[in-house]
């Protein structure tokens, strides 16, 4: 069972949230950012090549042009492989844990798994980030010594930065599964 809804990110870009329920205690929430646009790619390439042509006109050194082509190609590959995140997803399995996956534009996927014993709660926190106050979803990790304490905060959806309406949907879905922890008897 999958449903997809459109929202907008903190910077105004359109993002899509997809909710899939695999079973009663397993849910997957994915936030998809818009793919690399052809117009921004052409704009960046033209800017770099025009600047290189200007330098060539001043210095009469043709290495500048080859260097510009190299820089554009290498820069594009690095950007697609290390920077541009297309999809971030959150897989919550009630008795097992939470898995966070980031898929890059080049196809690379980076995954983190947090087992349920370490998860204290999933909350929407607000903090100052680069001259703005943003809402962001985060996983609070339990402090082993202190049952009320938080040892670590893991922020989620860092690159797509959804706004509060999208975060509330994700928060409600996560809380429905996390609440089952309290009612279900501890078996391990």
């Amino acid at each position: 069972m999958a449903e997809e809804r459109r929202f907008s990110s903190a910077s105004g870009a359109p993002i899509a949230l997809r909710r899939r329920q695999h079973s009663a205690s397993c849910r997957e929430l994915s936030v998809r950012a818009p793919r690399l646009q052809l117009r921004s790619l052409s704009a960046a390439t033209s800017a770099v090549w025009l600047a290189a042509y200007g330098l060539f006109a001043l210095s009469e050194n043709s290495m500048v042009l080859s260097a510009a082509i190299f820089i554009t190609l290498i820069g594009l590959i690095i950007y697609l492989h290390f920077v541009k995140i297309d999809q971030e997803s959150l897989l919550v399995i009630g008795s097992l844990g939470i898995q966070v996956t980031s898929s890059y534009a080049s196809g690379k996927e980076s995954t983190t798994f947090i087992e349920m014993g370490q998860v204290k709660d999933v909350v929407i926190n607000e903090a100052i980030h680069m001259q703005k106050v943003i809402y962001y979803l985060c996983i609070l990790l339990q402090d082993p010594e202190d049952p009320q304490g938080v040892s670590e905060v893991v922020p989620l959806f860092q690159s797509s930065k959804p706004r509060l309406d999208c975060l509330i949907e994700v928060y409600k879905s996560c809380q429905e599964i996390l609440e089952q922890r309290k009612t279900a008897p501890q078996s391990s």
Partner: protein, 129 residues
Amino acid sequence: KMVENSPAPLPERAIYGFALFLGSWFGFILYLIWAYIPETWLFSLGLTYWPQKYWAVALPVYLLVAVGMGYILLFGINMMSTAPLNSTDTITDNYAKKQQQKKFQEEAIPALRDIPISEVNRMFFLPEK
């Protein structure tokens, strides 16, 4: 005792203000003399050990550049002191961790305390049952 701490005008304050006014005018005229009067005229008056005139231009320039850099520095220091998104300082701090729970009394205003973030989230974002 209260009268001494008020910002109202007093005779002593008027005297301090006038002394500062005269002092700052004197300093300004002295600066203009140092900057504009040629060195040979100052030597003929017997004033041979004044600082180089270079400093009459250099010091104001230093001051203005420092003010401009101060803007940028303040901006940067503020950004550096802001807690990152993954730090527990955005959730709690030492005072909140050590706070004591006061007993709940009927018909009294509840005591002020730091409410844990999970409770705040439930109240805001989950529908009331």
